[in-house]
């Protein structure tokens, strides 16, 4: 459905997208994963014919983005990072306008506006001005706008950015529900989002393709080793952080124990397992049997940075919990 070959986009000083190639099959949901400024938005803008590529090409729904942009545009629905809404319009009026832009008219359009309003749960505000809507409703109106003409391909740029957890869940469910009829590419920098919604993942970083794989395979590759945060409290006597660390290190399957903060008779550690070892049960038992209280035991989420480093074969950085730093130059180029 989508074929991208050697796609390159150069700005004056930066290369936003660097020789990316991938394919997306019909009916798939593909997650486009990367830190901010990785070139996700640029790639999506090229696929939607908003930006022309500097080099290479892309074929969407059987048409070339440079040669037949109008044909491509007829077959795609696009939700940019901030939904393209006109605040002075009512929801129904806006959806009707977008439908007309996409070439629909008459009864067919009126019927379709009703359908997508129901599907995206915005029917109850169809008579409200968009400027009066909450962020979650706006996002859903944006989604309704993207599917109004029942396009073959849906391109969603960070569809859950800025929503609250409940809205995020609703939006993900909505996107999953759309999967059967449409081929969907959605970009995100949140890994769990990909795990929950997508079948296939394309990871890019600094404009380069890092990996394309199924979610299942990626999880296995990323989850080989587990990292767990443990907080231990002394029950009767003062807690000796050093002895706790030695006890934790002695558990089979533990590869490394990094002491974190320590205060008020409590100490926290980050414990890393060897590859393919499940250590949480052993950890809990060891702490309790040693006569300490186990205050907290939770797997720390694999940060995207770690997965990138694993996938690209880099060394694990010291500051594990830090979010991925933004490559400033690239993001400047990306956001006009």
């Amino acid at each position: 459905m989508i074929t991208v070959k050697n796609l390159t986009k150069r700005y004056a000083r930066t290369v936003a997208v660097d020789h990316i190639s991938f394919e997306v099959q019909k009916g798939q949901i593909v997650g486009f994963l990367g830190p901010n400024g990785a070139g996700k938005t640029t790639t999506m803008r090229i696929l939607t014919c908003f930006l022309p590529p500097t080099d290479g090409g892309a074929n969407v729904a059987g048409f070339d983005v440079l040669q037949q942009p109008l044909e491509v545009k007829k077959r795609i629905g696009y939700l940019p990072e901030s939904p393209p809404l006109y605040p002075e319009m009512e929801v129904r009026e806006y959806l009707t306008f977008v439908g007309k832009l996409k070439g629909m008219s008459g009864l067919n359009l009126a019927k379709r506006v009703g359908e997508v309003s129901d599907r995206c749960a915005v029917s109850d505000v169809s008579r409200r001005l968009i400027s009066k809507l909450s962020k979650g409703y706006r996002q859903r109106v944006g989604l309704a706008q993207a599917i109004i003409h029942n396009p073959d391909v849906l391109i969603l740029d960070e569809p859950t950015a800025g929503l609250d957890p409940k809205q995020i869940n609703e939006t993900r469910e909505l996107i999953k529900g759309l999967a059967g009829d449409h081929t969907i590419i959605l970009s995100t920098h949140i890994l769990p989002e990909v795990e929950q919604t997508c079948e296939q993942v394309i990871i890019i970083n600094k404009g380069k393709l890092v990996a394309t794989d199924s979610v299942h395979n990626l999880q296995n590759r990323a989850r080989g080793a587990e990292t767990v945060l443990v907080e231990v409290e002394g029950r009767d006597s003062a807690l000796d952080a050093g002895s706790v660390q030695r006890r934790l290190e002695s558990i089979a399957g533990v590869s490394r124990v990094v002491p974190k903060e320590s205060r008020n008779n409590r100490s926290a550690f980050e414990v890393e397992s060897l590859k393919d070892r499940f250590i949480r049960g052993d950890l809990a038992r060891a702490v309790v049997e040693s006569g300490w209280n186990l205050n907290e035991l939770r797997p720390t989420a694999m940060s995207l940075e770690e997965i990138f480093l694993q996938l690209t074969g880099g060394e694990k950085p010291e500051a594990v919990a830090e979010p991925a730093p933004e490559p400033v130059a690239a993001s400047e180029g990306e956001k006009q």
Partner: protein, 255 residues
């Protein structure tokens, strides 16, 4: 054609669903009403004087009231044109809705013409308000409608050109105020360029004077359709719309 009309409708809707159109109409009607009142008052006084002196010099309403008032409109319009065009593209760029237009199966030129057409239509509504004043002249006098119609055609053509230039300037920025101020500056320059012809007769001065939008209005004001002047206005329209399309395209290559 259909796409042009879709865009045009949307723009008109957004003019008239916000206070913009009503504010412009009210101000324009008030200002022009004042001009009209003064002009007619002056004309009456002149008529009274000439009667008292016993001269029954025939005085033409067309020449003493309508023609000067129409050229006044072209100047008042100068101040209103930036307010009409400044939001056309600047607002789409600021709100990100330009991405919706650019990724819909619709050509740039259709978007541009649709927006420009909506601006011209709003200006035409402003002109319609001035026609209400003139209607009174027809009730109490007997002016000739033909030069007046020609005058209105000239006004519409002139505004069409300046609105096209304003549309172009609106693509250059996300900030409406900047777009409006720049458009006003350009409109004002295009107006006063003609002044050099007053003291300088060299070729460059003639060229500058030719570029002035006011120079080309004179013939229309007299009720004459001079092809040369019509061609000037139509070229200005095409130039403005062409620059707009270039600007939109370069936006994509640069962004």
């Amino acid at each position: 054609m259909r796409n042009i009309w879709i865009i045009c409708q949307k723009e008109l809707r957004s003019y008239f669903s916000s206070p913009v159109a009503y504010l412009l109409l009210t101000m324009f009607a008030l200002i022009f009403g004042f001009f009209f009142w003064n002009s007619v008052g002056y004309f009456n006084m002149m008529g009274l004087e000439s009667q008292m002196r016993g001269q029954s010099m025939p005085m033409s309403v067309n020449e003493y009231v309508i023609r000067p008032l129409l050229s006044n409109i072209s100047v008042i319009g100068l101040f209103f044109i930036p307010m009409i065009t400044m939001r056309l593209f600047a607002e789409e760029k600021r709100m990100g809705t330009i991405e919706l237009l650019a990724t819909s199966p619709i050509r740039d030129m259709e978007v541009i013409i649709g927006k420009w057409l909506a601006a011209v239509m709003l200006y035409a509504v402003l002109l319609l308000f001035t026609a209400v004043n003139f209607a009174f002249l027809f009730k109490y006098g007997n002016p000739d409608w033909r030069p007046m119609a020609m005058g209105y055609l000239g006004l519409l053509l002139q505004a069409g050109g300046l609105l096209a230039v304003g549309t172009f300037i609106s693509t250059l920025t996300k900030n409406q105020i900047i777009a409006g101020a720049a458009t006003f500056g350009v409109c004002l320059m295009l107006w006063v360029l003609e002044w050099v012809a007053g003291y300088e007769t060299a070729t460059w001065a003639k060229v500058l004077a030719y570029m002035s939008v006011i120079t080309h209005y004179e013939s229309f004001g007299k009720g004459v359709l001079d092809t040369k002047d019509a061609v000037y206005y139509v070229s200005l329209i095409f130039l403005g719309l062409f620059l707009t399309s270039r600007s939109l395209e370069s936006l994509r290559w640069r962004s």
